[in-house]
């Protein structure tokens, strides 16, 4: 199939997954449309990421959030996409995050490249990454209110917010 990018031989793949599940017992390995997926509770995310790095996943290629408002019991899901250059394979970590306390541990100590990605996730969804060195808005203006990619943040209901506009008379 043309869109299939799940790499690596399945046997070797499961070995790594099994070893990761062993290191972090709360992690639950699975598959999703041909990709390897691990679900883990928020408190064990940093530990699992550390173990994954030790298993050869050198790069954190992407961190994002999905808002399942009205579709799931736990509203947010933090998605971490890891890449192993040496083993040529990918791994996706899914972390459910409740709306009431949207906090997960930061991956910056493990993957320095998570810095911008986590700032974007915070900016867009209001997920706090505990231990992030500089958790500020990155794409929206510093004084923006709300988190625009949440599904209850309406498009077009927001007045124009430019710092300069009131000053122009």
């Amino acid at each position: 199939m043309s869109g299939d990018s799940s790499p690596g031989p399945p046997a070797a793949a499961d070995e790594v997954l099994a070893s990761l599940s062993e290191a972090v017992p709360s992690a639950e390995a699975g598959h999703s449309v041909g990709d390897h997926v691990i679900r883990v509770p928020a408190e064990d995310l940093a530990r699992l990421a550390g173990a994954a790095r030790d298993h050869g996943f050198e790069m954190c290629s992407d961190i994002t959030v999905v808002d399942y408002l009205g579709k799931r019991r736990v509203r947010f899901e933090v998605v971490v996409n890891l890449l192993s250059v040496q083993h040529n394979r990918r791994l996706r970590i899914l972390v459910p995050v409740p709306e009431g306390d949207p906090e997960v541990p930061s991956l910056v100590p493990v993957y320095p490249g998570a810095n911008f990605l986590e700032r974007e996730a915070y900016d867009m969804f209001g997920i706090r990454f505990a231990g992030h060195p500089d958790l500020t808005r990155i794409l929206m203006p510093d004084d923006w209110m709300g988190h625009p990619l949440r599904r209850d943040f309406e498009v077009g209901a927001v007045p124009v917010q430019f710092k300069a506009s009131p000053r122009v008379t």
Binding site: V33, V85, L139, V160, S165
Partner: protein
Amino acid sequence: MMAEPTATTDIWVSGTEAPDVSEWMVAGTDEGAQEMERDETVERSVEQRGSRVVDDWVVDDSVDDDERMIVNMGPQHPSTHGVLRLNIELEGEIVRRVKPIIGYLHTGMEKTAETLTFLQGGTNVTRMDYLAPLHNELCYSLATEKLLGVEIPPRAQAIRILMTELNRVSSHLVATATNGMDIGALSMMMYGFRERELILAFFEKTTGLRMNHNYIRPGGVAADLPDGWEEDVAEILERIPLAMRDYEDLLKENPIWLGRTRGVGIITADECLAYGVTGPTLRAAGVPWDLRKSQPYSGIEAYEFDVVTGSRGDVYDRYRVRIGEMHQSLRIIEQVVDTMPRGDYKTTDRKVSPPPRQRIDESMEALIHHFKIYTEGFKVPAGETYVAIEAPRGELGCYLVSDGSGAPLRMHTRAPSFSNLQALPIMMADSLVADTVACIASLDPVMGDVDR
């Protein structure tokens, strides 16, 4: 009766008492003020001007050195490739710290994607990385097709490779051209854009537009290649290598160019991997990582090409890698032209593709089917997937979540320029301030891709 707006000429300084803006705010005649509601606006405006907005990035007090200062570069600066702003801490002429500040081009494309059907989504993603629009479309289409589970005909796949590789050449031409201009080789700027025009003319002929094509769509491509495309591509294949010989004469051993790029902006392979830096920057650091080889997509494994790498990871190596990649892309294009299969340019799967035109005249059901696909959009099975391709700037990923309806629940783009920008503080640490523009140019960030 509208009150006369008060002219306020004094500039209010942060930390002093905030001026009472409530009166003229409401009566303000400018469009921005009129659109805002009263209470909320005033409250928000005071907040915006209050001390809550702090520029925390100031010179460290513990460093007692008169030589240290913070210089702001951009967002309006010709060498920032768009609207990138850098806070640079200087010690004399040495750069000590850099903080990229982005978001000036943020247009909420990921939010927009949730309101568009899967078929319309292509028009949205193609505007992200405006120098490599076809790669954006391809990545998005591959993700959609992976969730749909449809087969793409071989001709459509070959057309996709042809178009994206041409796009890679045109994108690298701009990268080399602007890299030259930023360092002072102005002829390179003219040459690069001149040859890019050839490719854009072919794109216009094929897709109707020079950029933002919406040509590669879920299910195939929008139209077959135009008549006489072989001659056009043959001309590109003939003229670009000749022009590239000129570039080599101009830059490859040019002592000024070497002096400005050799050993400048070095980043090691380990740093690249840790910071999520991909593409030519990673390969210039010596890692032979190319998703076209390691995780091939759209049938690219059928063509022969080499992964170009550097060894030092400096600005010069990144320039060499781009030149090498252009040669390799032309090599792929040559093979695509020779082996272009016949057949359909889009899938015949009726889930995704509407019935042919003549069926619509004969059959009511076909008409309804056609109407449904273009109004509601085709339904994509629930699930989530991450698909990545090798864009000119590195790993371009698309994380797509469907809830089974006609529009995505979430579409996230892993933008290569966004992650690559994190390499800038490392490259520029303890370098000369004059090398700043060389570093930015060699990273080749596209701000539309960074901010989305």
